[in-house]
């Protein structure tokens, strides 16, 4: 596959993996390996003082994977900026997946607060990958603010419902000058393939892997979906039409000519 370039850094894989909700660290690691991903997201949370757990950093080979901390849990720009600064203080590279989701039911990203946080974080030197509603106008504003990508949703987080925002994703892809990473809602390799066929630069998947009996096998399937979709996009899909167009010659039939 051709390389994905984000903020001047090249990646061979166009599949990013979220590390949440796996039944064990082993399940997560096997999915990461099988996906051949190079970027993994993590979250920042309070340590349980009474029952400290190992940090994710123990389990992830930082030479092999770029750790992309998210600001999940942030309800406004201020909380997102605070989480981003904490993540950077943990010794991560200044890459941040910006998430501002005040609505607890659909976890839809807040466009106003996301843009506000992006403007602050870009000024502070962060490489910002914002999770966003599939809104082409917002995508343009974020790009102007200097974000490294846009990450429009296909469907609400964890719903596995695929590209419900397809028409708006197509406009975002058409207009963006930065990589478009379809994030959230992809539940099947076919969804990932569809996003890539449309010209998305990458996809991010978590629930679709974590929530299956065999995350590694599903991760491998997603990797194939992403690769197939990318290759199809580069090859150029055939045009859609209303009427049939025969694939076989329309001459030489075994019948009387009129």
């Amino acid at each position: 596959m051709d390389e994905l370039v984000i903020a001047g850094r090249s990646f061979r894989s166009r599949l990013m993996i979220g590390t949440g909700k796996f039944s064990s660290n082993q399940a997560m690691l096997s999915a990461m390996v099988a996906s051949e991903c190079e970027i993994v997201t993590v979250a920042l949370r309070r340590v349980d003082i009474n029952n400290p757990q190992d940090s994710m950093l123990d389990h992830i080979d930082r030479d092999k994977y770029l750790l992309l901390p998210n600001t999940s849990g942030a309800r406004d720009a201020e909380e997102a900026v605070r989480l981003a600064r904490l993540a950077r203080a943990a010794g991560c590279e200044p890459w941040i997946k910006l998430e501002v989701t005040p609505d607890p039911y659909y976890l839809l990203p807040d466009p106003v607060e996301t843009l506000k946080a992006a403007q602050i974080l870009v000024k502070e030197g962060f490489i910002v990958l914002p999770y966003m509603p599939a809104d082409p106008v917002l995508a343009r504003h974020l790009e102007e603010a200097g974000t490294a990508t846009v990450m429009p949703l296909g469907a609400p987080i964890g719903t596995n419902r695929g590209l419900r925002t397809r028409d708006h994703l197509a406009i975002i892809i058409e207009q963006a000058h930065i990589p478009v990473v379809v994030d959230a809602g992809l539940g099947a390799p076919s969804h990932a393939a569809e996003a890539m066929e449309m010209g998305a630069d990458a996809v991010l998947v978590n629930t679709a892997l974590a929530d299956t009996p065999n995350p590694a096998a599903m991760a491998a399937a997603f990797a194939k979906g992403v690769e197939a979709g990318r290759e199809a996009f580069l090859a150029g899909l055939g045009k859609q039409r209303q009427l049939a167009q025969a694939s076989s010659p329309l001459t030489g039939f075994l019948r009387h000519e009129a």
Binding site: A43, I49, A90
Partner: protein, 66 residues
Amino acid sequence: MEIQLNGKAFEADPDIRLSRLLESLKLDPQQIVVERNGSILTIDQFSATTLSHGDIVEIVQFVGGG
């Protein structure tokens, strides 16, 4: 003295050093980030930082997330 530690009241020795508090909680300083009264402390500040009554301390770490 009492501090607010990760959102809960916590009884700590008076003027305890942050590094000592982390040690008593069995936390590896390399694996966490500490915020005190809204300011992030870097790891080299842990042993020089003395906590005061009423301080608001947050200790966070990376967990799985999408």
